[in-house]
Symmetry: C2
Subunit: 499 residues, 2 copies
């Protein structure tokens, strides 16, 4: 590895000079995936230019959410694709000061290559350095980096010396090609390597190289709440029964999302009797890294590793030996439907709310206010061998039931949810018709304070409207209306208005 090849030394420059290459009104693409491997210095300089009064506005594109950049660039982003994580950006999107093009991250490569999202003016990416042959070595994520570099007119590279050198050799980059030349993705198991441990880049497009020395700001893992501990305990009980019946060789590769739920889940798996755990996910968290280190997990395929101080230490000391079990891939593989379906992954996802039939709203509060966007969960749920949805049964101290008569937005359809689990219990929805699904969800998953109300809604929908999927359209959203008007879904008399 080398920091900067001789032929590119002329482009070494300051973050401010590099940022000056980025023009207003164009599309800026940034590397990084969740909170890993994102460029740090150039986006900060861009934000500084905006704060200094420059009328700067860009279309911001990335592979997934990149919270640190989203928050920095919220004021100068006028169009954001495909998801985001930032309170400032969320306000701007929901106040319609920013255009947000929501899209599943699995579909993003196809859309980009088709030209439907336009071109990319500048791509800014982070790297450990270059190989002797001049290829880029990514850091803690690969994400969409290869495609962004291929599509961008101009490229800015940040070489980050704070990223552990142990990351080198963990990457596996494979581009499936385009039809009619596209071939099967060879992946047979999560730790299978079939690509290259670097990203090819056209040196003629590299216009600036900036040295940085700044760790990822990875979110610190938090201990899960009491309710989520119980959700996870219910999950593990269910998985033990299912494994005894169906998976003599152990659990299938596990997909879980990002955040505290995923951290709690993976931690609980580590305390379980399950061995030889495998992950096929977008982001591997600290708990997953500990399992790889201890040997309780034997394989992880991911697009990003969350670089907490502990993970950084693990990679510094054990990066080389982890090459047999940890593979950091590009998003065309980690989020593609082909490997997920082939592996029959165990998909563990969450959402904001589910309806009595199991349709899930993962993205829009009250159907209108977007949180982070649909992301990757829906495609994993669709193509898994078993799709489990995990929710607390209520929120805001009981003011909200996450099980509602109808969700005002649907991201994951009921037929892509096999099992629904809350702290109350488990509803196994497989092989059930819609009313049977509703009965199982209400009896096993709803909070007791709402159970009777939901049961009455279902009974009345069956009696008054009937059909295969009974719904009372006149009052399906009464719970959401009541929440807005009174601050709680649980007001008495909620069912007395409709007919």
């Amino acid at each position: 590895m080398q920091a900067i090849p001789n032929n590119l030394r002329q482009h070494e420059t300051s973050a401010a000079e590099a940022a000056a290459l980025i023009q207003s009104g164009r599309t800026l693409a940034v590397g990084g995936y969740t909170s890993a491997g994102y460029p740090k210095a150039v986006p900060r300089e861009l934000a500084a230019r905006k704060r200094a009064g420059e009328p700067l506005a860009v279309n911001l594109l990335s592979g997934s959410l990149v919270g640190q950049i989203d928050e920095l660039l919220a004021d100068l982003t006028i169009r954001r694709t495909p998801m985001f994580e930032s309170p400032a950006m969320r306000r701007a999107v929901n106040e319609r000061r920013m255009v947000y093009v929501e899209q599943q991250i699995a579909k993003l490569p196809r859309l980009l290559r088709s030209g439907a999202l336009g071109g990319i003016d500048v791509a800014v990416v982070e790297a450990l350095g270059f190989t002797e042959e001049g290829r880029l070595i990514p850091t803690s994520s690969v994400g969409l980096m290869p495609l962004l570099l291929e599509m961008a007119d101009r490229i800015i590279v940040e070489i980050n010396s704070a990223q552990p050198a142990g990351l080198e050799g963990l990457h596996d980059v494979y581009l499936p090609g385009r039809p009619p030349e596209r071939r099967p993705i060879p992946l047979l198991h999560p730790a299978h390597r079939f690509g290259e441990p670097f990203v090819r880049v056209d040196h003629d497009k590299i216009r600036a190289i900036v040295r940085t020395d700044e760790p990822d700001q990875a979110p610190a893992p938090e201990a899960p709440s009491g309710i989520m501990v119980q959700v996870t305990a219910n999950l593990l009980n269910f998985l033990e029964l299912e494994a005894a019946r169906r998976w003599p060789g152990g659990l299938p590769p596990i997909q879980s999302g990002v955040g505290n739920l995923a951290y709690g889940l993976v931690t609980a798996l580590g305390r379980s009797s399950f061995r030889d755990l495998k992950f096929f996910c977008g982001t591997l968290n600290e708990a997953g890294m500990e399992l790889l280190l201890s040997g309780q997990a034997v394989a992880a395929s991911t697009s990003a590793v969350q670089m907490t101080p502990r993970v950084t230490e693990i990679l510094r000391n054990h990066g080389h030996s982890l090459r047999k079990s940890l593979v950091i891939r590009n998003q065309e593989i980690t989020n593609d439907v082909e490997p997920a379906a082939r592996l029959e992954i165990l998909a563990l996802n969450t959402g904001l709310e589910a309806d009595i039939y199991g349709n899930v709203n993962t993205s829009h509060i009250a159907g209108a206010q977007v949180v982070n966007g649909i992301g990757g969960g829906a495609n994993f749920a669709q193509n898994s061998g078993l799709s489990i949805m995990l929710l607390p049964s209520c929120g805001k101290g009981g003011a909200i039931s996450t099980i509602v008569p109808m969700t005002p937005h649907v991201d994951i359809c009921e037929h892509d949810v096999d099992v629904l689990i809350t702290e109350q219990g488990v509803a196994d929805l497989r092989g059930k018709d819609d009313v049977e699904r509703a009965e199982a969800i209400i009896a096993n998953c709803a909070h007791p304070a709402y159970r009777e109300h939901l049961r009455r809604y279902l009974d009345r929908a069956v009696a008054l409207v009937g059909g295969h999927h009974p719904q009372l359209l006149n009052e399906a959203f009464d719970w959401h209306r009541r929440l807005k008007e009174t601050g709680s879904m649980a007001e008495s008399g909620i069912f007395s208005s409709g007919g």
Copy 2:
């Protein structure tokens, strides 16, 4: 080929004796896919037993809808999976006299193999005959036949001499295996053969063989209505522009559903300037067969061929020469996400209604009354290279707008619809945010009689609720309510009630 191998001659019997093997209270699986290759004599005997007063009740399982059997067995089916096509069965399901387990047909093999849907007592399938080695040669569909034979405890085979011998050699059966041994599906193009031209069957499970001589009752193709002719014309105009920009080698493999819309679509493609057409679909109709015969289509991968008299004639005379372009596969390949995504298929689907953002209801009238079930369209839309939704803008002489503020059921989420087309025009939704999508759909696709109402709904939703996906929950279903109460969505004053 032989009709019946020597070792199985003892099992040749009448349809009535074969039907006597089917016991009440068990799961009966039938071969066939859409209106092709279904068993004919044994289901009829079963229906006769029921009519004669026997208290017969079965769980009915098939790969897809099998209209002829669904109608015959509606009175004795107590549980139906995964879809159906029969007015009698529809009434029974919607009156909750029959349990209907709706499921995407792409997911069905995984669910069956997992045991989640229970076992299969008897499978009844149709075949042309046996190979010299004793394997079964399917007729006009393969569908789920290999898996049903593998799972069933006992098997009844109908040997149908009315099916053209030219079907022999068109089949290609490949089972992808199960994780962790599952390998990539080798398919590289629609006419690619990589399996076996027969279905393996355990002779010990065959308990009856019945000879029949009865053609498939394939639905006669109907000329499309004037509105659908215009929808199709809009589609072709769009495809020509898209092809010029993006597909220099011609259109990607086309997926279209069953029914008159698909027939009109394929007929129109035949009159277009497109050459080297390829199909990757569940069912190939007569128009598609004509294109293969004329050479305008060069490849078709399908699970079933609709055996109209003309198609039967084509297969009698040209079956052998069609082997290079026509492949009849099992459903694990035709409906799997892996080949669809790899080929970046052009998915052409329809639905009952779409909301202003592009969420589609394909299955439930007024959100409650199921029509046929979700079927295969949603998975094709999710995994296509381009997903186009085709709808007439209104129905029932204008009483119904198919573009509504909110659909009371969602089967295909907005992000899986790239382009929406009605007879009014084309809304290209790619790269748009939600309000931009709504503006494009209302301006280009809604019927003029409803356009202003939809525009006012959107404007008021933006003003009163706002957010990324504005919806007025208090009045989102007013159109559906008005339709139920007055027979039309278009009543004046429709917007004056909410707030």
